[in-house]
């Protein structure tokens, strides 16, 4: 039942002015429901929350129901229904940050702000929260402060920052020296070191400007695709699908509109290569997108930038504007009639799943980041139902270089099945964390030597959805036919607790599951609880079989790649570190189930009864 307009105004708690502000935010994107992400990002920014009355106004403006707006607003971690502080600090709580002193940094923030993680100060000035990997593992502990980032945090640095912020200085001035005078690139560099440790010949060495685009303009669409197919380029996001074949399929589908989307939603914990490319090679990224557009006949492109990389937004917008000015984007690119293409930047809002191409498209369409049913695949029916090529940042850079320098040159590097070079993001227990551009086929042992990690005990290749390997298999090679990876290499030394690492990654997948399908939504929670039993010493030998069994069900029945890989931290450590599990799994001595914890079982009753059990309470002091 629709309420009377005046009723709503009263009930809503929004002033007329606030409503007008929200309406004008919607108007900026022409009240287009497909631009819901932009609307919600701006409302969250402006009001520090997206309240139910705000959702009503947005729903009315965009012609959606409130539940549709709420479905989107409640999906992304960076949106909140309760007001956040004017300065919102999001501490990265990835396992690398935990191993790099996160606890003392957290304590310092909590002390300085007099709140605990998850709270907002009573004056509404500060919020403190945890967030999963923000792509800065090579300089952990790191945090987001509103739209900026800060790295290599120490307790001392935290106290300085908070003191300055409390004194009223804006975060920009606190985190970036002479912020106002600097270019977006300088600001990014001031906040983040890119740690390029080894530049290879394709991406991080010298790159001639727009040579690939010039070649693409000369040769035309069919030859572009043939060149890519000859090069053997495979997608660099992790799955390794042949790029040329993807472009060919999109070009072959009959349609009036086609789209090129750059997947800059780099969310796999331990991966930060795209951050470096977006900072150091943004022209190459957009050049690659423009070549893709030429190849498939797209006029519109989107770069989907993960919300955690919002500090790169100004830099990327500046580069886009520059390319428009120089006729490299927009109508008649390089003077070619009919070669029209432009790119819009779509910011995400904290959702790992949006790295999955269907979910990414959903998010671009203003929907919750849920994967789409396949088939149809995006190349036939993607963004707004049109043929869409979604490529990883690195893949697009490679494509531009291949067009400029040649397919044979590229195919001559790496291995037969994995040609070219690859960016590896190395972090964890090593002397030189950072980015290494190396030919495919390099062995883990050689890489570890290069990064200064000869004492490594375990290496996680490809992030938590990849494989954790042990010393005896460090001769394995980084390539699609051995250890496939999107580029994350996380090193752990012998002092690290494998089960602690596994438990963290399972909690990550629980946090990031979209919840669409049963096995991923529920099964991962069960896996997390089961690992918790091992951590608490409550597991018995049958729990090892239980872990395998449940993992198999999740992998076999999940709808998308998240659920098909989320048990990997467990399965690969069961396989490669079996003693870690068997050492703590003990048969119970007294025939009771060790898993049954009487304390937690009676906790509810104890609270209701407001008294303690003389028989079961071990500790009366608490």
């Amino acid at each position: 039942m629709a309420s009377h307009p005046e009723d709503t105004a009263q009930k809503s708690g929004l002033s007329l002015e606030e409503k007008a502000t929200i309406r004008s935010i919607c108007r900026e994107v022409e009240d287009d429901p497909a631009r819901m992400m932009d609307i919600l990002l701006r409302v969250q920014d402006r009001f520090r929350c997206i309240s139910a009355p705000a959702m009503d106004v947005i729903a009315e403006a965009t012609g959606l129901s409130r539940i549709a707006v709420e479905g989107v607003a409640s999906f992304y971690a960076f949106f909140s229904s309760e007001p956040k502080g004017r300065v919102t600090i999001r501490l990265c709580d990835d396992i690398i940050d935990r191993f790099s002193g996160l606890a003392s940094v957290t304590a310092a923030f909590e002390n300085a702000l007099s709140i605990t993680v998850g709270e907002t100060t009573p004056d509404g000035a500060f919020s403190l929260e945890y967030t999963p990997c923000i792509g800065l593992c090579d300089q952990a502990p790191a945090a987001m402060v509103n739209d900026l980032v800060v790295t290599n945090l120490t307790a001392e640095r935290v106290h300085e920052i908070v003191a300055a912020l409390k004194a009223g200085a804006p975060p920009e001035e606190v985190l970036v020296d002479r912020y106002a005078e600097r270019t977006p690139y300088q600001r990014a560099k001031e906040m983040v070191s890119n740690n390029i440790r080894h530049a290879g010949p394709v991406l991080l060495g010298p790159v001639p400007e727009d040579a690939g685009l010039e070649a693409a303009v000369e040769t035309g669409p069919a030859q572009i695709i043939r060149t890519l197919e000859t090069s053997g380029l495979r997608g660099c996001g992790g799955a390794g699908f042949p790029t040329g074949r993807k472009w060919r399929a999109a070009a072959a589908t009959e349609a009036d509109r086609r789209f090129v989307i750059c997947n800059a939603d780099e969310g796999e914990p331990g991966t930060f290569k795209d951050r470096v490319l977006l900072t150091e090679r943004p022209h190459l990224v957009f050049e690659g997108m423009t070549i893709a557009a030429r190849a498939i006949g797209a006029k519109e492109g989107i770069i989907y930038l993960r919300g955690e990389y919002v500090y790169l937004r100004d830099l990327l917008e500046e580069v886009l504007a520059d390319r428009r000015n120089r006729g490299l984007l927009g109508p008649a690119i390089m003077g070619v009639d009919g070669f029209d293409f432009d790119i819009r930047l779509q910011l995400g809002a904290g959702a790992y799943i949006c790295g999955e191409e269907g979910a990414l498209i959903s998010s671009c369409e203003g929907l919750p980041g849920e994967p789409k049913t396949r088939p149809p695949f995006p190349v036939t029916r993607g963004y707004l139902g049109c043929p869409t090529v979604v490529n990883n940042v690195e893949t697009l850079c490679h494509a531009a270089r291949i067009l400029g320098t040649g397919a044979q040159w590229f195919a001559g590097m790496g291995t037969k099945d994995s040609p070219g070079t690859k960016l590896f993001s190395v972090s964890g227990d090593c002397l030189n964390p950072g980015i290494y551009e190396l030919p495919y086929g390099v062995s883990i042992r050689d890489l570890l030597e290069m990064v200064g990690a000869e004492d490594a005990a375990a290496v996680l290749v490809g992030g938590p959805s990849g494989t954790m390997i042990a010393r005896d298999t460090f001769d394995r090679r980084l390539a699609f036919d051995d250890l496939a990876t999107g580029g994350a290499v996380v090193v752990f030394n012998g002092d690290r607790n494998i089960l602690e690492i596994v438990e963290y990654y399972m909690s990550f997948f629980v946090h990031e599951s979209c919840g669409y399908c049963t096995p991923c939504r529920v099964g991962n929670v069960f896996l997390q609880k089961a690992i918790g039993k091992f951590r608490k010493g409550l597991a018995n030998p049958s729990d090892i079989a239980y872990l395998r069994d449940l993992s198999d069900t999740i992998i076999e029945t999940s709808r998308c790649g998240l659920g098909m890989t989320s048990p990997n931290p467990i399965l690969s450590t069961l396989e490669n570190f079996p003693l870690v599990y068997s050492a703590v799994a003990k048969p119970s001595a007294d025939r009771t189930r060790a898993t049954f914890d009487i304390q937690s079982a009676i906790e509810n009753a104890r609270q209701l009864a407001k008294r303690r059990s003389h028989i079961y309470d071990r500790d009366f002091t608490k």
Binding site: M1, A52, S65, R66, I67, A68, E70, G71, S74, F75, Y76, A77, A351, P368, T373, P375, V510, H511, E512, S513, C514, G515, Y516, C517, T518, P519, R521, V522, G523, V525, F526, K529, Y546, L550, T553, E556, T557, S558, R559
Partner: protein, 237 residues
């Protein structure tokens, strides 16, 4: 009229272009267990109970297009085990207390558990959520503790009733069905909506007030026959 055929567990199934595996199987009288799918509603593919192997690969039969000559495995020990795990997950995710639930006997979740031989306590932990009841509406109550997130009510309201009373909110384990307003009374839901009818909600979440126990326990649909019997009766062999 069929365009091509494929095999399910050794039986040849005629199919038309554009049909899903589950649609073709239904027409041929082969029952593939499902919970989120319901005849007349868009396919969603979220409960995954209809998981089958098509040429050895796991797919959801309700969304996977039938294709010429594919070999589909539907009923075997392995697939039944996967389905039982999924149904158990749904039981453990919510609060399903059959003896005190009005839907008992008509409940598809309960019936699926019987069909899949879920006859003993399971090894999964109970999540025991605590979700508030919504009895605000004069004719309808919602007990989402029993909701299995199948979303049938969402699609029925949107596509059949043309209303949009329900929708998903939240993410991951916190994802749940909610209503278009602060409470159900704020929405334009009516007890005569298709979305509210007994055939849409497979469990006892959507409750029509003042009509409980009109059919006694013991005389209800799945008290008399296994779930899927209506489809299997169509089989002409």
């Amino acid at each position: 009229m069929s365009d091509f055929s494929f095999m399910i567990d050794g039986v040849e199934i005629p199919a038309c272009e554009g049909q899903t595996i589950l649609e073709a199987a239904d027409a041929a009288g082969i029952y593939i267990p499902r919970l989120c799918d319901h005849e007349g509603l868009r396919h969603q593919g979220s409960c995954r109970v209809c998981t089958v192997k098509a040429n050895g690969r796991s797919v959801a039969a309700c969304t996977q297009p039938a294709a010429p000559d594919i070999l589909v495995e539907n009923e075997n020990a392995h697939i039944n085990k996967l389905r039982r795990d999924l149904v158990e997950m749904l039981f453990h995710e919510g609060n399903h207390l059959c003896p005190i639930c009005e839907a008992s006997g008509n409940c598809e979740l309960q019936a699926m558990a019987y069909r899949l031989d879920m006859t003993e306590p399971t090894q999964f932990p109970y999540l025991e959520p605590c979700r508030a009841l919504d009895a605000s509406h004069p004719d309808i109550a919602l007990d989402t503790n029993r909701c299995i997130s199948c979303g049938r009510c969402i699609r029925a309201s949107q596509d059949v009733d043309g209303k949009g009373v329900f929708g998903y909110v939240g993410r991951g384990i916190h994802r749940r069905v909610s209503v278009n307003g602060d409470t159900l009374a704020d929405t334009d839901a009516e007890v005569t909506d298709f979305a509210i009818s007994s055939e849409v909600c497979p469990v006892g979440c959507i409750i029509r007030k003042r009509e409980g126990f009109t059919t006694p326990i013991g005389e209800r649909e799945f008290d008399k026959a296994l779930i899927g019997h209506d489809i299997e009766e169509k089989r002409d062999d």
